[in-house]
Protein backbone atom coordinates (compact mmCIF):
# COMPACT_ATOMS: atom_id res chain seq x y z
CA UNK A 1 0.00 0.00 0.00
CA UNK A 2 2.88 2.40 0.65
CA UNK A 3 3.89 2.07 -2.99
CA UNK A 4 0.67 3.83 -3.98
CA UNK A 5 1.08 6.65 -1.54
CA UNK A 6 4.73 7.41 -2.24
CA UNK A 7 4.88 6.78 -5.98
CA UNK A 8 2.73 9.30 -7.80
CA UNK A 9 4.72 9.55 -11.01
CA UNK A 10 2.51 9.17 -14.06
CA UNK A 11 4.54 6.31 -15.47
CA UNK A 12 4.04 4.13 -12.41
CA UNK A 13 0.38 4.96 -11.81
CA UNK A 14 -1.11 2.18 -13.96
CA UNK A 15 0.79 -0.41 -11.94
CA UNK A 16 -0.37 0.87 -8.58
CA UNK A 17 -3.91 1.19 -9.90
CA UNK A 18 -3.83 -2.42 -11.05
CA UNK A 19 -2.54 -3.42 -7.63
CA UNK A 20 -5.30 -1.54 -5.82
CA UNK A 21 -7.88 -3.02 -8.20
CA UNK A 22 -6.61 -6.53 -7.42
CA UNK A 23 -6.85 -5.86 -3.67
CA UNK A 24 -10.43 -4.62 -3.98
CA UNK A 25 -11.50 -7.48 -6.26
CA UNK A 26 -9.96 -10.14 -4.03
CA UNK A 27 -11.51 -8.55 -0.92
CA UNK A 28 -14.89 -8.42 -2.68
CA UNK A 29 -14.76 -12.02 -3.89
CA UNK A 30 -13.78 -13.05 -0.36
CA UNK A 31 -16.80 -11.22 1.07
CA UNK A 32 -19.04 -12.82 -1.56
CA UNK A 33 -17.81 -16.38 -1.06
CA UNK A 34 -16.71 -16.62 2.57
CA UNK A 35 -20.25 -16.59 4.05
CA UNK A 36 -21.17 -19.46 1.70
CA UNK A 37 -18.02 -21.35 2.74
CA UNK A 38 -18.78 -20.84 6.45
CA UNK A 39 -22.33 -22.11 5.82
CA UNK A 40 -21.03 -25.33 4.25
CA UNK A 41 -18.29 -25.85 6.88
CA UNK A 42 -20.73 -25.28 9.74
CA UNK A 43 -23.06 -27.91 8.30
CA UNK A 44 -20.44 -30.55 9.18
CA UNK A 45 -20.18 -29.38 12.83
CA UNK A 46 -22.22 -29.95 15.94
CA UNK A 47 -23.87 -26.91 17.47
CA UNK A 48 -21.23 -26.91 20.24
CA UNK A 49 -18.40 -26.89 17.70
CA UNK A 50 -20.02 -24.01 15.78
CA UNK A 51 -20.28 -21.93 18.96
CA UNK A 52 -16.75 -22.68 20.16
CA UNK A 53 -14.79 -22.77 16.91
CA UNK A 54 -16.83 -20.87 14.33
CA UNK A 55 -13.93 -20.49 11.89
CA UNK A 56 -12.25 -23.89 12.30
CA UNK A 57 -12.29 -26.55 9.61
CA UNK A 58 -14.69 -29.36 10.48
CA UNK A 59 -14.27 -33.11 10.33
CA UNK A 60 -15.76 -33.73 6.90
CA UNK A 61 -16.73 -37.30 7.78
CA UNK A 62 -19.33 -35.97 10.24
CA UNK A 63 -22.34 -35.99 7.92
CA UNK A 64 -25.03 -36.73 10.53
CA UNK A 65 -26.60 -33.26 10.09
CA UNK A 66 -27.10 -33.91 6.38
CA UNK A 67 -28.41 -37.42 7.04
CA UNK A 68 -30.89 -36.02 9.54
CA UNK A 69 -32.09 -33.24 7.22
CA UNK A 70 -32.61 -35.65 4.34
CA UNK A 71 -33.96 -38.55 6.42
CA UNK A 72 -36.00 -37.00 9.21
CA UNK A 73 -37.37 -33.73 7.85
CA UNK A 74 -39.74 -32.78 5.04
CA UNK A 75 -36.88 -31.18 3.09
CA UNK A 76 -36.93 -33.82 0.31
CA UNK A 77 -40.67 -33.18 -0.17
CA UNK A 78 -40.09 -29.43 -0.41
CA UNK A 79 -37.34 -30.09 -2.92
CA UNK A 80 -39.61 -32.23 -5.13
CA UNK A 81 -42.37 -29.60 -4.93
CA UNK A 82 -39.94 -26.90 -6.02
CA UNK A 83 -38.80 -29.07 -8.92
CA UNK A 84 -42.40 -29.74 -10.02
CA UNK A 85 -43.52 -26.12 -9.71
CA UNK A 86 -40.43 -24.66 -11.41
CA UNK A 87 -40.45 -27.30 -14.16
CA UNK A 88 -44.14 -26.94 -14.99
CA UNK A 89 -44.03 -23.13 -14.86
CA UNK A 90 -41.02 -22.90 -17.15
CA UNK A 91 -42.58 -25.40 -19.54
CA UNK A 92 -45.83 -23.41 -19.70
CA UNK A 93 -43.94 -20.13 -20.10
CA UNK A 94 -41.95 -21.56 -23.00
CA UNK A 95 -44.98 -23.11 -24.73
CA UNK A 96 -47.26 -20.08 -24.40
CA UNK A 97 -44.41 -17.59 -24.92
CA UNK A 98 -43.26 -19.34 -28.09
CA UNK A 99 -46.81 -19.48 -29.45
CA UNK A 100 -47.44 -15.76 -29.02
CA UNK A 101 -43.88 -14.80 -29.96
CA UNK A 102 -44.04 -16.91 -33.13
CA UNK A 103 -47.37 -15.47 -34.23
CA UNK A 104 -46.18 -11.89 -33.73
CA UNK A 105 -42.81 -12.46 -35.37
CA UNK A 106 -43.76 -14.60 -38.38
CA UNK A 107 -47.23 -13.46 -39.45
CA UNK A 108 -48.18 -9.96 -40.45
CA UNK A 109 -51.33 -8.84 -38.77
CA UNK A 110 -52.96 -5.60 -37.73
CA UNK A 111 -53.33 -6.96 -34.21
CA UNK A 112 -49.59 -7.53 -33.66
CA UNK A 113 -48.96 -4.09 -32.15
CA UNK A 114 -51.89 -4.58 -29.82
CA UNK A 115 -50.61 -7.99 -28.75
CA UNK A 116 -47.12 -6.66 -28.07
CA UNK A 117 -48.47 -3.70 -26.07
CA UNK A 118 -50.63 -6.11 -24.10
CA UNK A 119 -47.62 -8.17 -23.07
CA UNK A 120 -45.51 -5.04 -22.52
CA UNK A 121 -48.05 -3.93 -19.90
CA UNK A 122 -47.73 -7.34 -18.25
CA UNK A 123 -43.98 -6.87 -18.15
CA UNK A 124 -44.29 -3.61 -16.21
CA UNK A 125 -46.98 -4.45 -13.67
CA UNK A 126 -45.80 -5.97 -10.39
CA UNK A 127 -48.30 -8.82 -9.89
CA UNK A 128 -47.21 -8.99 -6.23
CA UNK A 129 -49.40 -5.96 -5.57
CA UNK A 130 -52.44 -7.75 -7.03
CA UNK A 131 -51.98 -10.70 -4.69
CA UNK A 132 -55.33 -10.13 -2.90
CA UNK A 133 -57.53 -10.49 -6.03
CA UNK A 134 -55.25 -13.28 -7.24
CA UNK A 135 -55.80 -15.03 -3.91
CA UNK A 136 -59.60 -14.71 -4.28
CA UNK A 137 -59.50 -15.79 -7.95
CA UNK A 138 -57.47 -18.88 -7.09
CA UNK A 139 -59.84 -19.69 -4.24
CA UNK A 140 -62.83 -19.41 -6.62
CA UNK A 141 -61.07 -21.66 -9.13
CA UNK A 142 -60.38 -24.17 -6.33
CA UNK A 143 -56.62 -23.85 -6.87
CA UNK A 144 -55.69 -22.30 -3.53
CA UNK A 145 -53.28 -24.37 -1.44
CA UNK A 146 -52.25 -26.40 -4.50
CA UNK A 147 -49.08 -26.40 -6.55
CA UNK A 148 -51.15 -25.20 -9.53
CA UNK A 149 -51.79 -21.89 -7.76
CA UNK A 150 -48.05 -21.24 -7.97
CA UNK A 151 -47.63 -22.60 -11.49
CA UNK A 152 -50.29 -20.32 -13.03
CA UNK A 153 -49.00 -17.30 -11.09
CA UNK A 154 -45.39 -17.80 -12.15
CA UNK A 155 -46.45 -18.48 -15.73
CA UNK A 156 -48.39 -15.20 -15.78
CA UNK A 157 -45.38 -13.31 -14.42
CA UNK A 158 -42.85 -14.93 -16.76
CA UNK A 159 -44.88 -15.04 -19.96
CA UNK A 160 -44.40 -11.41 -21.14
CA UNK A 161 -40.61 -11.51 -21.06
CA UNK A 162 -40.63 -14.89 -22.84
CA UNK A 163 -42.87 -13.46 -25.60
CA UNK A 164 -40.39 -10.61 -26.16
CA UNK A 165 -37.33 -12.85 -26.10
CA UNK A 166 -38.91 -15.35 -28.53
CA UNK A 167 -40.39 -12.72 -30.85
CA UNK A 168 -37.12 -10.80 -30.90
CA UNK A 169 -35.21 -13.88 -31.97
CA UNK A 170 -37.76 -15.42 -34.35
CA UNK A 171 -38.03 -12.14 -36.23
CA UNK A 172 -34.37 -12.41 -37.20
CA UNK A 173 -34.78 -15.77 -38.98
CA UNK A 174 -34.79 -15.42 -42.79
CA UNK A 175 -38.18 -15.98 -44.43
CA UNK A 176 -36.57 -18.04 -47.22
CA UNK A 177 -36.63 -20.91 -44.73
CA UNK A 178 -40.39 -21.03 -44.39
CA UNK A 179 -41.02 -20.05 -48.03
CA UNK A 180 -39.01 -23.06 -49.19
CA UNK A 181 -40.99 -25.34 -46.88
CA UNK A 182 -44.28 -23.79 -48.04
CA UNK A 183 -43.42 -24.44 -51.67
CA UNK A 184 -42.76 -28.06 -50.70
CA UNK A 185 -46.32 -28.10 -49.41
CA UNK A 186 -45.58 -28.14 -45.67
CA UNK A 187 -48.41 -27.00 -43.41
CA UNK A 188 -48.01 -23.97 -41.13
CA UNK A 189 -47.78 -26.05 -37.90
CA UNK A 190 -45.25 -28.32 -39.63
CA UNK A 191 -43.13 -25.30 -40.63
CA UNK A 192 -43.20 -23.92 -37.11
CA UNK A 193 -42.40 -27.25 -35.44
CA UNK A 194 -39.86 -28.75 -37.83
CA UNK A 195 -38.24 -25.77 -39.55
CA UNK A 196 -38.29 -22.76 -37.26
CA UNK A 197 -38.37 -24.02 -33.67
CA UNK A 198 -35.27 -26.24 -33.93
CA UNK A 199 -33.37 -23.00 -34.64
CA UNK A 200 -34.86 -21.25 -31.61
CA UNK A 201 -33.19 -23.26 -28.86
CA UNK A 202 -30.76 -20.49 -27.70
CA UNK A 203 -33.48 -17.92 -26.88
CA UNK A 204 -35.53 -20.69 -25.25
CA UNK A 205 -32.58 -21.47 -22.97
CA UNK A 206 -32.28 -17.78 -22.05
CA UNK A 207 -36.01 -17.47 -21.35
CA UNK A 208 -35.90 -20.70 -19.32
CA UNK A 209 -33.02 -19.59 -17.08
CA UNK A 210 -34.32 -16.05 -16.72
CA UNK A 211 -37.56 -17.48 -15.31
CA UNK A 212 -36.39 -20.65 -13.58
CA UNK A 213 -34.07 -18.93 -11.08
CA UNK A 214 -36.59 -16.43 -9.63
CA UNK A 215 -39.33 -19.09 -9.61
CA UNK A 216 -37.11 -21.61 -7.83
CA UNK A 217 -36.18 -18.94 -5.27
CA UNK A 218 -39.58 -17.28 -4.79
CA UNK A 219 -41.02 -17.12 -1.32
CA UNK A 220 -43.83 -14.56 -1.41
CA UNK A 221 -46.50 -16.43 -3.38
CA UNK A 222 -46.09 -19.78 -1.58
CA UNK A 223 -46.30 -17.87 1.71
CA UNK A 224 -49.69 -16.47 0.69
CA UNK A 225 -51.14 -19.42 -1.26
CA UNK A 226 -49.86 -22.63 0.37
CA UNK A 227 -50.77 -23.85 3.84
CA UNK A 228 -50.38 -27.63 3.65
CA UNK A 229 -46.86 -28.65 4.62
CA UNK A 230 -46.58 -31.41 2.00
CA UNK A 231 -47.14 -28.86 -0.81
CA UNK A 232 -44.62 -26.27 0.33
CA UNK A 233 -41.71 -25.31 -1.90
CA UNK A 234 -38.11 -25.20 -0.76
CA UNK A 235 -37.81 -21.52 0.30
CA UNK A 236 -41.14 -21.69 2.12
CA UNK A 237 -40.42 -25.10 3.66
CA UNK A 238 -37.07 -23.72 4.80
CA UNK A 239 -38.87 -21.22 7.04
CA UNK A 240 -40.81 -24.05 8.75
CA UNK A 241 -37.59 -26.01 9.06
CA UNK A 242 -35.67 -23.06 10.52
CA UNK A 243 -38.46 -22.46 13.01
CA UNK A 244 -38.44 -26.08 14.09
CA UNK A 245 -34.69 -26.42 14.75
CA UNK A 246 -33.94 -22.87 16.05
CA UNK A 247 -31.38 -23.98 18.62
CA UNK A 248 -29.71 -26.74 16.60
CA UNK A 249 -27.32 -24.67 14.53
CA UNK A 250 -25.65 -27.69 12.94
CA UNK A 251 -29.04 -28.67 11.50
CA UNK A 252 -29.80 -25.09 10.44
CA UNK A 253 -26.59 -24.78 8.45
CA UNK A 254 -27.06 -28.26 6.95
CA UNK A 255 -30.61 -27.30 5.88
CA UNK A 256 -29.39 -24.04 4.33
CA UNK A 257 -26.54 -25.88 2.58
CA UNK A 258 -28.86 -28.51 1.12
CA UNK A 259 -31.32 -25.83 -0.01
CA UNK A 260 -28.54 -23.77 -1.63
CA UNK A 261 -26.61 -26.66 -3.17
CA UNK A 262 -28.59 -27.51 -6.35
CA UNK A 263 -28.78 -24.00 -7.77
CA UNK A 264 -25.24 -23.06 -6.71
CA UNK A 265 -23.72 -26.15 -8.34
CA UNK A 266 -25.80 -25.62 -11.47
CA UNK A 267 -24.65 -22.00 -11.55
CA UNK A 268 -20.99 -22.94 -11.23
CA UNK A 269 -21.38 -25.46 -14.08
CA UNK A 270 -23.34 -23.08 -16.34
CA UNK A 271 -22.23 -19.65 -15.09
CA UNK A 272 -22.13 -18.11 -18.57
CA UNK A 273 -25.72 -19.13 -19.36
CA UNK A 274 -26.94 -18.10 -15.89
CA UNK A 275 -25.39 -14.66 -16.12
CA UNK A 276 -26.67 -14.15 -19.66
CA UNK A 277 -30.16 -15.36 -18.75
CA UNK A 278 -30.54 -13.48 -15.50
CA UNK A 279 -29.30 -10.16 -16.85
CA UNK A 280 -31.19 -10.60 -20.16
CA UNK A 281 -33.90 -8.14 -19.12
CA UNK A 282 -31.42 -5.39 -18.26
CA UNK A 283 -28.79 -5.89 -20.98
CA UNK A 284 -29.82 -5.14 -24.54
Amino acid sequence: MTAIASDTSAARRPISFAFLAQVILIANSFIMLYPVVVMVLSAFKTTGEIFEHPFALPDFTQVQNFAKVLGETAMPTYFINSLLVTGMSVLLILVLGTMAGYAVARYESRTNTFILLFFLAGLMLPLKLAVIPLFILLRDLGLLDSRWSLIVTYTAIGLPSAVFIMAGFLRTLPSELEDAARIDGASEPRIMWSVMLPLARPPMAIAAIQNAVPIWNDFFFPLVFIQTDSRKTLPQGLTSFMGEYTTDWGMLFAGLTIAAAPITLLYIALSRQFIQGMTAGAVK
Binding site: L25, Y107, F220
Partner: protein, 310 residues
Protein backbone atom coordinates in the same frame (compact mmCIF):
# COMPACT_ATOMS: atom_id res chain seq x y z
CA UNK B 1 -40.62 -11.66 -49.94
CA UNK B 2 -44.21 -11.97 -51.11
CA UNK B 3 -45.68 -15.37 -50.43
CA UNK B 4 -47.43 -16.46 -53.64
CA UNK B 5 -50.32 -18.50 -52.30
CA UNK B 6 -51.23 -16.42 -49.29
CA UNK B 7 -54.81 -15.70 -50.44
CA UNK B 8 -56.25 -19.22 -50.79
CA UNK B 9 -54.91 -20.23 -47.38
CA UNK B 10 -55.83 -17.07 -45.57
CA UNK B 11 -58.81 -18.46 -43.63
CA UNK B 12 -56.92 -21.54 -42.56
CA UNK B 13 -53.93 -19.44 -41.65
CA UNK B 14 -56.00 -16.97 -39.68
CA UNK B 15 -57.33 -19.85 -37.62
CA UNK B 16 -53.80 -21.09 -37.07
CA UNK B 17 -52.60 -17.66 -35.93
CA UNK B 18 -55.60 -17.38 -33.62
CA UNK B 19 -54.73 -20.78 -32.19
CA UNK B 20 -51.26 -19.41 -31.43
CA UNK B 21 -52.20 -16.09 -29.84
CA UNK B 22 -55.52 -16.74 -28.10
CA UNK B 23 -54.33 -19.10 -25.32
CA UNK B 24 -51.49 -16.82 -24.13
CA UNK B 25 -53.77 -13.78 -24.21
CA UNK B 26 -56.59 -15.54 -22.35
CA UNK B 27 -54.09 -16.74 -19.76
CA UNK B 28 -52.67 -13.23 -19.23
CA UNK B 29 -56.12 -11.68 -19.08
CA UNK B 30 -57.29 -14.13 -16.43
CA UNK B 31 -54.23 -14.12 -14.18
CA UNK B 32 -52.78 -10.62 -14.68
CA UNK B 33 -55.26 -8.14 -16.15
CA UNK B 34 -58.30 -9.27 -14.18
CA UNK B 35 -56.50 -9.38 -10.77
CA UNK B 36 -54.89 -5.98 -11.31
CA UNK B 37 -58.16 -4.34 -12.32
CA UNK B 38 -59.97 -5.96 -9.39
CA UNK B 39 -57.22 -4.82 -7.03
CA UNK B 40 -58.30 -1.24 -7.70
CA UNK B 41 -61.98 -2.08 -7.27
CA UNK B 42 -61.50 -4.02 -4.03
CA UNK B 43 -60.00 -0.99 -2.34
CA UNK B 44 -63.37 0.77 -2.48
CA UNK B 45 -65.21 -1.93 -0.52
CA UNK B 46 -65.53 -2.92 3.08
CA UNK B 47 -64.36 -6.48 3.71
CA UNK B 48 -65.29 -8.98 6.40
CA UNK B 49 -62.56 -11.56 6.15
CA UNK B 50 -62.80 -13.05 2.66
CA UNK B 51 -66.31 -11.70 2.02
CA UNK B 52 -66.82 -8.42 0.22
CA UNK B 53 -69.13 -6.01 2.04
CA UNK B 54 -70.60 -2.70 0.94
CA UNK B 55 -69.10 0.04 -1.22
CA UNK B 56 -67.38 2.57 1.04
CA UNK B 57 -65.83 5.00 -1.44
CA UNK B 58 -62.48 6.41 -0.35
CA UNK B 59 -62.78 5.35 3.29
CA UNK B 60 -60.00 2.74 3.06
CA UNK B 61 -57.65 5.18 1.36
CA UNK B 62 -58.32 7.81 4.04
CA UNK B 63 -57.61 5.25 6.75
CA UNK B 64 -54.30 4.23 5.13
CA UNK B 65 -53.07 7.78 4.61
CA UNK B 66 -54.54 9.69 7.56
CA UNK B 67 -56.17 7.21 9.97
CA UNK B 68 -55.06 7.38 13.59
CA UNK B 69 -53.97 3.74 13.84
CA UNK B 70 -52.80 2.96 10.32
CA UNK B 71 -51.22 6.16 8.97
CA UNK B 72 -48.33 6.47 11.48
CA UNK B 73 -47.34 2.86 10.71
CA UNK B 74 -47.57 3.44 6.95
CA UNK B 75 -45.52 6.64 6.98
CA UNK B 76 -42.91 5.15 9.30
CA UNK B 77 -42.56 2.20 6.92
CA UNK B 78 -42.51 4.47 3.86
CA UNK B 79 -39.55 6.41 5.30
CA UNK B 80 -37.67 3.14 5.79
CA UNK B 81 -38.32 2.21 2.15
CA UNK B 82 -36.94 5.59 1.06
CA UNK B 83 -33.94 5.12 3.33
CA UNK B 84 -33.32 1.63 1.89
CA UNK B 85 -33.65 2.96 -1.67
CA UNK B 86 -31.07 5.72 -1.14
CA UNK B 87 -28.65 3.44 0.73
CA UNK B 88 -28.93 0.68 -1.86
CA UNK B 89 -28.44 3.14 -4.73
CA UNK B 90 -25.11 4.06 -3.20
CA UNK B 91 -23.94 0.71 -1.85
CA UNK B 92 -25.47 -1.72 -4.33
CA UNK B 93 -25.63 0.20 -7.63
CA UNK B 94 -22.66 2.48 -6.90
CA UNK B 95 -20.60 -0.45 -5.64
CA UNK B 96 -21.64 -2.45 -8.70
CA UNK B 97 -20.45 0.35 -10.99
CA UNK B 98 -17.03 0.49 -9.35
CA UNK B 99 -16.63 -3.29 -9.36
CA UNK B 100 -17.65 -3.37 -13.02
CA UNK B 101 -14.98 -0.80 -13.82
CA UNK B 102 -12.33 -2.88 -12.08
CA UNK B 103 -13.52 -6.00 -13.92
CA UNK B 104 -13.74 -4.17 -17.25
CA UNK B 105 -9.94 -4.03 -17.47
CA UNK B 106 -9.91 -7.82 -17.32
CA UNK B 107 -7.28 -8.04 -14.57
CA UNK B 108 -5.68 -11.28 -13.40
CA UNK B 109 -8.42 -13.60 -12.13
CA UNK B 110 -11.11 -11.74 -14.10
CA UNK B 111 -13.20 -14.83 -14.81
CA UNK B 112 -13.07 -15.99 -11.20
CA UNK B 113 -14.10 -12.60 -9.78
CA UNK B 114 -16.91 -12.31 -12.31
CA UNK B 115 -18.37 -15.68 -11.32
CA UNK B 116 -17.79 -15.05 -7.58
CA UNK B 117 -19.64 -11.72 -7.45
CA UNK B 118 -22.76 -13.36 -8.92
CA UNK B 119 -22.89 -16.39 -6.57
CA UNK B 120 -25.14 -14.72 -3.96
CA UNK B 121 -27.47 -13.47 -6.72
CA UNK B 122 -28.55 -17.01 -7.64
CA UNK B 123 -29.36 -17.92 -4.02
CA UNK B 124 -32.89 -17.63 -2.69
CA UNK B 125 -33.48 -14.48 -0.63
CA UNK B 126 -34.73 -16.81 2.12
CA UNK B 127 -31.37 -18.56 2.28
CA UNK B 128 -29.52 -15.23 2.27
CA UNK B 129 -31.78 -13.83 5.00
CA UNK B 130 -31.43 -16.83 7.31
CA UNK B 131 -27.69 -17.05 6.70
CA UNK B 132 -27.12 -13.43 7.74
CA UNK B 133 -29.54 -13.76 10.63
CA UNK B 134 -27.35 -16.56 11.99
CA UNK B 135 -24.14 -14.63 11.24
CA UNK B 136 -25.47 -11.54 13.03
CA UNK B 137 -26.56 -13.47 16.13
CA UNK B 138 -25.31 -11.45 19.14
CA UNK B 139 -23.61 -14.35 20.93
CA UNK B 140 -22.66 -16.97 18.38
CA UNK B 141 -22.79 -15.25 15.00
CA UNK B 142 -19.52 -15.05 13.09
CA UNK B 143 -19.70 -11.24 12.81
CA UNK B 144 -19.41 -10.68 16.54
CA UNK B 145 -17.13 -13.74 16.94
CA UNK B 146 -14.74 -12.18 14.42
CA UNK B 147 -14.84 -8.85 16.28
CA UNK B 148 -14.09 -10.63 19.59
CA UNK B 149 -11.16 -12.55 18.12
CA UNK B 150 -9.73 -9.29 16.73
CA UNK B 151 -10.00 -7.70 20.16
CA UNK B 152 -12.69 -5.29 18.97
CA UNK B 153 -15.20 -6.31 21.65
CA UNK B 154 -16.47 -2.75 21.88
CA UNK B 155 -17.83 -2.91 18.31
CA UNK B 156 -19.79 -6.14 18.86
CA UNK B 157 -23.51 -5.47 18.97
CA UNK B 158 -26.84 -7.25 18.82
CA UNK B 159 -27.04 -5.96 15.23
CA UNK B 160 -30.62 -7.00 14.55
CA UNK B 161 -31.83 -6.34 18.08
CA UNK B 162 -30.70 -2.71 18.22
CA UNK B 163 -33.00 -0.25 16.49
CA UNK B 164 -29.99 1.89 15.56
CA UNK B 165 -28.36 -0.83 13.46
CA UNK B 166 -31.14 -3.24 12.43
CA UNK B 167 -32.25 -1.49 9.22
CA UNK B 168 -28.64 -0.91 8.18
CA UNK B 169 -27.92 -4.61 8.68
CA UNK B 170 -30.87 -5.55 6.44
CA UNK B 171 -29.67 -3.14 3.77
CA UNK B 172 -26.16 -4.58 3.85
CA UNK B 173 -27.51 -8.15 3.66
CA UNK B 174 -29.54 -7.08 0.62
CA UNK B 175 -26.49 -5.43 -0.95
CA UNK B 176 -24.44 -8.61 -0.38
CA UNK B 177 -27.22 -10.59 -2.06
CA UNK B 178 -27.61 -8.42 -5.17
CA UNK B 179 -24.45 -6.35 -5.81
CA UNK B 180 -23.44 -8.88 -8.49
CA UNK B 181 -26.43 -7.92 -10.61
CA UNK B 182 -25.57 -4.23 -11.19
CA UNK B 183 -21.91 -5.24 -11.46
CA UNK B 184 -22.51 -7.53 -14.43
CA UNK B 185 -25.10 -5.27 -16.07
CA UNK B 186 -22.67 -2.33 -15.87
CA UNK B 187 -19.84 -4.58 -17.07
CA UNK B 188 -21.89 -5.53 -20.16
CA UNK B 189 -22.63 -1.81 -20.69
CA UNK B 190 -18.94 -0.91 -20.48
CA UNK B 191 -17.96 -3.68 -22.84
CA UNK B 192 -20.21 -2.09 -25.47
CA UNK B 193 -18.28 1.20 -25.33
CA UNK B 194 -16.11 1.28 -28.47
CA UNK B 195 -12.60 0.65 -27.23
CA UNK B 196 -11.19 3.41 -29.49
CA UNK B 197 -12.92 6.02 -27.33
CA UNK B 198 -11.21 4.82 -24.19
CA UNK B 199 -7.86 4.33 -25.96
CA UNK B 200 -8.02 7.87 -27.33
CA UNK B 201 -8.79 9.31 -23.90
CA UNK B 202 -5.88 7.35 -22.44
CA UNK B 203 -3.52 8.73 -25.09
CA UNK B 204 -4.67 12.24 -24.21
CA UNK B 205 -3.42 11.59 -20.69
CA UNK B 206 -6.87 11.63 -19.07
CA UNK B 207 -6.76 10.60 -15.44
CA UNK B 208 -8.61 7.52 -14.27
CA UNK B 209 -11.19 9.67 -12.45
CA UNK B 210 -11.84 11.92 -15.48
CA UNK B 211 -12.16 8.89 -17.72
CA UNK B 212 -14.69 7.37 -15.35
CA UNK B 213 -16.65 10.57 -14.79
CA UNK B 214 -16.62 12.10 -18.27
CA UNK B 215 -16.60 9.09 -20.56
CA UNK B 216 -17.60 5.80 -18.93
CA UNK B 217 -20.42 7.02 -16.66
CA UNK B 218 -22.23 8.95 -19.44
CA UNK B 219 -21.83 6.08 -21.91
CA UNK B 220 -23.32 3.48 -19.57
CA UNK B 221 -26.36 5.71 -18.96
CA UNK B 222 -28.79 3.13 -20.47
CA UNK B 223 -27.63 0.57 -17.88
CA UNK B 224 -28.06 3.18 -15.13
CA UNK B 225 -31.62 3.86 -16.28
CA UNK B 226 -32.59 0.19 -16.07
CA UNK B 227 -30.74 -0.52 -12.82
CA UNK B 228 -32.12 2.49 -10.98
CA UNK B 229 -35.65 1.78 -12.15
CA UNK B 230 -35.40 -1.87 -11.09
CA UNK B 231 -33.93 -0.86 -7.72
CA UNK B 232 -36.72 1.67 -7.22
CA UNK B 233 -39.39 -0.96 -7.85
CA UNK B 234 -37.50 -3.49 -5.71
CA UNK B 235 -37.00 -1.09 -2.79
CA UNK B 236 -40.71 -0.30 -2.55
CA UNK B 237 -41.65 -3.99 -2.86
CA UNK B 238 -39.03 -4.95 -0.25
CA UNK B 239 -40.37 -7.89 1.79
CA UNK B 240 -38.39 -11.13 1.99
CA UNK B 241 -35.18 -9.96 3.71
CA UNK B 242 -37.03 -8.04 6.47
CA UNK B 243 -39.58 -10.86 6.86
CA UNK B 244 -36.91 -13.50 7.41
CA UNK B 245 -34.42 -11.45 9.42
CA UNK B 246 -36.60 -9.36 11.74
CA UNK B 247 -40.09 -10.85 11.39
CA UNK B 248 -43.48 -9.52 10.33
CA UNK B 249 -43.56 -6.69 12.88
CA UNK B 250 -40.38 -4.97 11.71
CA UNK B 251 -38.83 -5.32 15.15
CA UNK B 252 -37.23 -3.90 17.18
CA UNK B 253 -39.95 -1.29 17.79
CA UNK B 254 -40.89 -0.91 14.13
CA UNK B 255 -37.38 0.30 13.30
CA UNK B 256 -37.22 -2.03 10.29
CA UNK B 257 -40.87 -1.89 9.28
CA UNK B 258 -41.33 -1.49 5.52
CA UNK B 259 -44.44 -1.20 3.33
CA UNK B 260 -44.20 -4.83 2.19
CA UNK B 261 -44.49 -6.00 5.82
CA UNK B 262 -47.32 -3.53 6.56
CA UNK B 263 -49.19 -4.77 3.49
CA UNK B 264 -48.80 -8.43 4.42
CA UNK B 265 -49.82 -7.83 8.04
CA UNK B 266 -52.86 -5.84 6.95
CA UNK B 267 -54.05 -8.18 4.21
CA UNK B 268 -53.13 -11.59 5.57
CA UNK B 269 -52.74 -10.95 9.30
CA UNK B 270 -49.96 -12.19 11.52
CA UNK B 271 -49.67 -14.95 14.06
CA UNK B 272 -49.95 -12.75 17.13
CA UNK B 273 -53.02 -10.74 16.09
CA UNK B 274 -54.93 -12.61 13.41
CA UNK B 275 -56.71 -9.71 11.82
CA UNK B 276 -57.24 -9.68 8.10
CA UNK B 277 -58.46 -6.65 6.20
CA UNK B 278 -58.57 -6.96 2.42
CA UNK B 279 -60.07 -3.48 2.02
CA UNK B 280 -57.21 -1.67 3.74
CA UNK B 281 -54.70 -4.06 2.15
CA UNK B 282 -56.07 -3.33 -1.33
CA UNK B 283 -56.03 0.41 -0.66
CA UNK B 284 -52.40 0.23 0.45
CA UNK B 285 -51.49 -1.94 -2.58
CA UNK B 286 -53.27 0.46 -4.94
CA UNK B 287 -51.50 3.50 -3.49
CA UNK B 288 -48.16 1.72 -3.62
CA UNK B 289 -48.86 0.60 -7.17
CA UNK B 290 -49.75 4.13 -8.32
CA UNK B 291 -46.72 5.53 -6.51
CA UNK B 292 -44.42 3.01 -8.18
CA UNK B 293 -45.92 3.47 -11.65
CA UNK B 294 -45.86 7.29 -11.48
CA UNK B 295 -42.39 7.63 -9.98
CA UNK B 296 -40.82 4.80 -11.97
CA UNK B 297 -42.11 6.37 -15.22
CA UNK B 298 -40.87 9.80 -14.17
CA UNK B 299 -37.52 8.33 -13.17
CA UNK B 300 -37.25 6.44 -16.46
CA UNK B 301 -38.17 9.52 -18.51
CA UNK B 302 -35.69 11.69 -16.62
CA UNK B 303 -32.90 9.12 -16.92
CA UNK B 304 -33.69 8.60 -20.62
CA UNK B 305 -33.43 12.33 -21.27
CA UNK B 306 -30.15 12.28 -19.44
CA UNK B 307 -28.98 9.48 -21.77
CA UNK B 308 -29.72 11.61 -24.82
CA UNK B 309 -28.04 14.72 -23.41
CA UNK B 310 -24.70 12.97 -23.13
Amino acid sequence: MHVPHRQPQSMKRRLWVAFLVVPPIVFMSLFVVYPILSAFAYAFYDWQGLARGEFVGLKNFREVLFGATMAPVVWNAFLHNVYALVALMIVQNGGGFLLAWLLYKEPFGFRFHRVAVFVPVVLSTIIVGFLWKLFLNPNFGIVNQALYSLGLDALAKPWLGDSATALGALILANAWHFVGFPTLVYLAGMQRIPSEIIEAARLDGTTEWQLLKNIVWPLVAPSTTILFTLLFIGAFNWFEIPYVMVGLDGSPFGSTDVLGLVFYRTAFGNQSASIQNFGLGSALATLLFLFIVVFASMLTLWLRRREIQF
